[in-house]
Subunit: 214 residues, 2 copies
C-alpha cells in the first residue's frame, strides 16, 4: 500500500499553496481568481497551475479564471480537508510539540487530540491544552481515542518499534518524521516527511545562485 504510485504527487504538494491564495481571495470577497495570478504569486507557469488544479475537477472560465468559492471547495473536497480527522502525536519533543501548535492543521481538518511520550515526567501533563500520555499507555489509551492517524516524531532508533505498537492498536495512517523506512502491513499508509529533502532543494538553489553570479 505504501508503494501506490502517486504520479501526480508534485501537483498534490502544491494544492495547499493554491488553497491559501484561494482562501485569501475569498476573504477579499473576490468572485474570480485567475490561473495567471496564482502562477505569478507562486513563481509557476500558468499551464502548470491549470494542470494541477484540474485534478480536483474544477475548471476555470475563459478570461475570468476560477470561481473562488467553488475553487476552495474543490481543493478541500479533493484532499478530504472538508472533514475532521483526529490524530495523535507520538513523541512530544520539540518537533512533536511544534506540530501540536501548528495553526494550519486545524484549518485543514487535522485535529491533534493527544500525545504520547516516553518521558514519564511529561505524562499526565499537557501541551497546547492537549493531554500527554505515557508511551506505555498506548494499548490502553489509543483505542478509546478512536483515532486512525498518528504523527510519528520519536527518535529514529525507536521508530519501527513504536510504529508496530501503534499499528497493533488500530493506527492506519502514519505521518513519519523520522528517517526510518518503516515496515508496515499492506493496509497501513505512510507519508515520510524528510526535512533533508527541503535542505537539498535549498542547497541546489544556493549552488545555482553562485554559478549565476560567478
Amino acid at each position: 500500500m505504501n508503494k501506490i504510485k502517486v504520479s501526480y504527487a508534485p501537483s498534490v504538494r502544491r494544492l495547499p499553496s493554491y488553497l491559501l491564495i484561494a482562501k485569501q481571495a475569498l476573504e477579499s470577497a473576490d468572485e474570480y481568481l485567475s490561473g495567471t495570478f496564482i502562477a505569478t504569486e507562486l513563481g509557476l507557469e500558468p499551464i502548470q497551475v491549470r494542470k494541477d488544479l484540474s485534478i480536483t475537477g474544477i475548471s476555470g472560465k475563459p478570461k475570468r479564471g476560477y470561481p473562488v468559492k467553488p475553487l476552495v471547495e474543490a481543493i478541500e473536497a479533493y484532499l478530504n480537508w472538508d472533514r475532521r480527522v483526529d490524530a495523535v502525536v507520538v513523541g512530544a519533543g520539540h518537533l512533536g510539540s511544534a506540530l501540536m501548535g501548528f495553526p494550519g492543521f486545524r484549518q485543514h481538518g487535522l485535529h491533534i487530540v493527544a500525545a504520547f511520550d516516553a518521558d514519564a515526567k511529561k505524562a499526565g501533563g499537557s501541551i497546547y491544552d492537549m493531554p500527554v500520555y505515557a508511551m506505555a499507555d498506548i494499548p490502553a489509551r489509543l483505542p478509546t481515542l478512536g483515532v486512525l492517524t498518528a504523527v510519528l516524531t520519536v527518535p529514529s532508533s525507536s521508530a519501527q518499534e513504536v510504529a508496530d505498537v501503534l499499528i497493533a492498536n488500530g493506527i492506519k495512517a502514519l505521518w513519519n518524521f523520522t528517517n526510518v523506512k518503516l515496515k508496515v502491513p499492506e493496509d497501513v499508509v505512510v507519508q515520510n516527511e524528510d526535512l533533508s529533502s527541503g535542505y537539498a532543494m535549498l542547497s541546489i538553489k544556493c549552488r545555482m545562485r553562485r554559478e549565476r553570479l560567478s
Copy 2:
C-alpha cells in the same frame, strides 16, 4: 532568482534518501549498490532511481550497480553537502528548537551556530549549546557571525518584516518555514517548507486506501 525553474526538483528531493542508503552500504563495507535494491527499499521504479542519480554525474556498472564510495561522494558533491554551511535559526520556538537539535543536518554540512528570538527572556540563554540572541540584536550580531543562510521559524505575521532585516544584514538564503510568500531581492534564494504539503500527500494516500477497501 526565486523563480529559477528546478525542473528536476522531485529528483533533488529524493537524493537525501539515496544518500542515506548509500551511507548504510558504506558502513556495511559493501562495494556496490544496485539501483534495483535502492528502488525496492524506497518503493520506486528502478528507472526512476537511475534517472535521479544521473543528475549527480554518477553512472552504475551493468550487473553490479553503483560503486558505493563514489556514489556517496557524487551525491554530497552535487548537493554541496561536502562543505560546511553555517546558518542561524530565527524564531527559537518549538519548531526552531527542533531544527537546532535535528541530528541529520550536521551530517549534511549544515551547522546552526546561533538563534535569534523575539522573546527577551530567551536571549542570553542557549539551546543545544548554541547561543540565543535577541531579535533586536540581528544588525549588531549577524554580520559578526559570517553566515549567509537563515532558517525562518518566526510566526507568519512577522515573517516578511524579519526577512527584510535579515537580508539587510547579509542573509542570501532563507529556508522559510512560514506560509508567507516572501518578497526578496533577485540575489536572495528562498526555499519554502510547507508542512501542509506533506499532510496533503497523507490525505490523498488515506483517500486512495479507503477507495481501495470500499
